[in-house]
């Protein structure tokens, strides 16, 4: 927020001490990896023999790499469905659970459960739900006369994966929106109701503007997550030879680096991915100045 708390006197010293461990981790872990990735992206390296200089060849070859372009397209489609889907649904759930309700904490726990569950274990359960002939979903659909659908096949895998990822992200989104909703002073609604702002109008003119900081934060976080989607893709859509029915960019990076002896290409793809996230984040910050309301 713009009006932060300024540390004073002895607090400053403590600030440095307490931030130190995290900064060390960031400096050597994150920053070190970023620098290493940039360097490796300029090399031809198969991991097992000494690398040679490649210049920008790893980048230029991406333009004609059909598997990379496919991964790019899938990642963009994935994000276009996942980001709005996650934000709208988790906001709806937060609105529903932001009231006095019987079994409130039970519902909050249920929605938060995917966040704390292992992606691999959860992925296995979803693979049963999505099963072609023994799956739960096709079984339920059979009652309304819908023929079995191959949910994880080449045609539907992307959307099936989007659903699982949205489901997995609802818990975190809900918590962030609940915090935002509960920070809105009750007086605003009382004052609004005198002027006739109830129901939809109260949401549109009181709630929505006041939770724009939460929406903004959620948009950035889910976008980053969308571009990094990997676990459910790996568990649910991996085909027998290691390819995927919905190969995202991170999946492509993994394949190039570890399966195809092309660490340079993998690193170049990682840099492109990072630049895309950076660019989008800058766009969001530009939008923030226009749309986000801080009181």
């Amino acid at each position: 927020m713009h009006a932060g708390i300024k540390p004073l006197g002895g607090e400053r010293w403590w600030l440095v001490v307490l931030l130190f461990p995290t900064m060390i981790g960031l400096l050597f872990g994150a920053l070190g990896s970023v620098l290493a990735t940039i360097v490796i992206s300029l090399l031809n390296w198969d991991l097992i023999t000494p690398p040679t200089w490649a210049g920008f060849a790893n980048y230029t070859s991406l333009l004609s790499d059909t598997l990379f372009l496919r991964a790019m397209r899938i990642t963009v489609l994935f994000s276009l469905a996942y980001v709005p889907g996650t934000i709208i649904l988790s906001l709806l759930i937060a609105l529903l659970l932001n009231r006095k309700l019987f079994g409130l904490s039970l519902f909050r726990t249920i929605y938060f459960l995917p966040t704390v569950s292992s992606a691999v274990a959860v992925g296995l359960v979803w693979s049963w739900i999505y099963g072609r002939e023994r799956g739960l979903l096709n079984y339920l659909l059979s009652f309304v006369g819908i023929a079995p659908i191959n949910w994880l096949g080449s045609q539907n895998a992307l959307w099936s994966i989007v659903i699982v990822n949205i489901w997995g992200a609802l818990g975190t989104g809900m918590v962030i929106f609940l915090a935002g909703l509960q920070a809105i002073p009750r007086e605003y609604y009382e004052a609004g109701s005198l002027d006739g702002a109830v129901g939809w109008k109260a949401f549109r003119y009181i709630t929505l503007p006041l939770i724009t900081p939460s929406i903004f934060f959620q948009t950035i976080i889910t976008t980053v997550h969308a571009f990094q989607a990997f676990e459910y893709v790996y568990v649910l859509t991996r085909t027998a030879n290691g390819a995927s029915n919905a190969p995202t960019l991170v999946y492509s990076i993994y394949r190039n680096g570890f399966n195809f002896f092309r660490m340079g290409t993998a690193s170049a793809q990682a840099i492109v991915l990072a630049l895309m996230i950076l660019l989008l984040t800058l766009c969001y910050f530009w939008l923030e100045r226009r749309l986000v309301v801080y009181d």
Binding site: L47, G131, N150, S154, T239, A240, N241, N259
Partner: protein, 386 residues
């Protein structure tokens, strides 16, 4: 590498090795087959490769061509009679003009597995060497049924792996006079007219007869409907025997069927290689020699996964009369006579994924066969051209 049984066996082999070579210490590391390759590459990247490590023959060219493996030829020359007892078919994959950069430690031939109970119930004779691919299709169709009458097939006639050439389609192609890849490994031949006939034969079983489960359905049975008791026949190597020995139905093995061009199967091996930069090449060689020698091979055979490369052990009671699985193990050895080595070439993993995974939508009835082949064959050739 299948822990933990395999770790126990390797520790036993290493113990025996230590007893014979008190000056050499071997540290065994075992991991599952998938993460094994990631780990190996990471060790290489970190400059600390293991002295001796396992190699899958199809991946050998990718490693050998990068010059990171030790040429064992000087050691082999100094060991008279080294190859006398080894099946020659298993050696070819490791041979290069200037010598061997790896040696096979065990091998796999693919044969036909069948569920005796299902054949008995249908009162059909068991598969034998008279079988053709037409007969296979016919019997597979006869054994396919909807047992509980809910409109969904729950007993399939035949469930081969369609994702990899080794267990079914390379043999089917060869038996019909088609080829997988050109002799110089520069051109994928899976789109040739003769190969397309075989693809259509397979597609007819999957999509018309429905006697072969689609990959999506197969996945619902853990990828192996035969082991799940849902399929009357399968094709596989010896590696499934320890697992199948635990099954609660009767099963056995039969020779591969024959086609218009004869009878073929696939032979593939796992081997040992030595890192070129190993600091202890002599000790590493001693271990490789021990592992492919009589004592190592004997122990490895007791594990039950694979066939020993030493003829004398393969033809001994250790292999032929394995207590855990009283099946006709001789069928695997007989298969050597009509086996062709699984093709191995640089870029194998990427090529196999383009082909194997590329065909999955066809078997799932999501894409047309011919247009898919027109698309994946050139893509596979691009990998070969690198």
């Amino acid at each position: 590498m299948r822990a933990p049984e395999e770790l126990a066996v390797w520790n036993a082999i290493v113990e025996a090795f230590h007893a014979a070579n008190p000056n050499i210490r071997v540290k065994v590391e075992v991991s599952d087959w998938d993460s094994y390759w990631d780990k190996l590459k990471t060790l290489y990247a970190g400059g600390t490769p293991p002295d001796v490590f396992a190699m899958d023959a199809p991946l050998y060219p990718d490693w050998q061509s990068r010059g990171v493996l030790l040429n064992m030829q000087p050691y082999i020359d100094a060991t008279p009679g080294m190859f006398d007892d080894i099946y020659p078919n298993t050696l070819t994959a490791y041979k290069r003009d200037d010598g061997y950069y790896g040696l096979p430690r065990d091998f796999q031939t693919v044969v036909l597995y069948y569920n005796k109970d299902m054949f008995d119930e249908a009162q059909l004779p068991y598969p034998d060497e008279s079988w053709t691919y037409e007969k296979l299709r016919e019997v597979a169709k006869a054994l396919t049924k909807d047992v509980d009458g809910d409109g969904i097939i729950d007993q399939f006639g035949f469930s081969p792996d369609l994702w990899d050439m080794e267990t079914f389609w390379s043999s089917a192609l060869w038996s019909h006079g088609a080829e997988v890849i050109s002799e110089d490994y520069s051109k994928t031949l899976l789109g040739e007219p003769k190969a397309r006939e075989v693809w259509r034969y397979i597609a007819a079983m999957v999509l018309e007869d429905k006697s072969v489960p689609t990959p999506a359905v197969s996945a619902e049975y853990g990828g192996d409907p035969f082991a799940a008791g849902r399929s009357a026949m399968a094709m596989s190597g010896h590696w499934v025997v320890p697992e199948y020995a635990q099954l609660d139905f009767a099963w056995d093995v039969a020779p591969m069927p024959s086609g218009p061009a004869g009878r073929f199967t696939s032979v593939n091996s796992a081997g040992f290689v030595i890192a070129k930069d190993s600091k202890n090449p002599d000790a590493a060689w001693e271990f490789v020699k021990f592992a492919v020698g009589k004592e190592g091979q004997q122990r490895l055979t007791e594990l039950g996964f694979a066939i020993p490369v030493l003829k004398s052990i393969a033809e001994s009671s250790t292999f032929l009369e394995q207590q855990s699985a009283p099946i006709k193990h001789q069928i695997f050895l007989d298969a050597m006579e009509y086996a062709r080595p699984k093709p191995t070439f640089a870029g194998y993993e990427e090529w196999a994924s383009i082909i194997g995974d590329g065909l999955v939508p066809v078997w799932n009835d999501e894409q047309d066969l011919d247009s898919t082949l027109d698309e994946i064959v050139p893509a596979a050739d691009e990998v070969l051209a690198r």
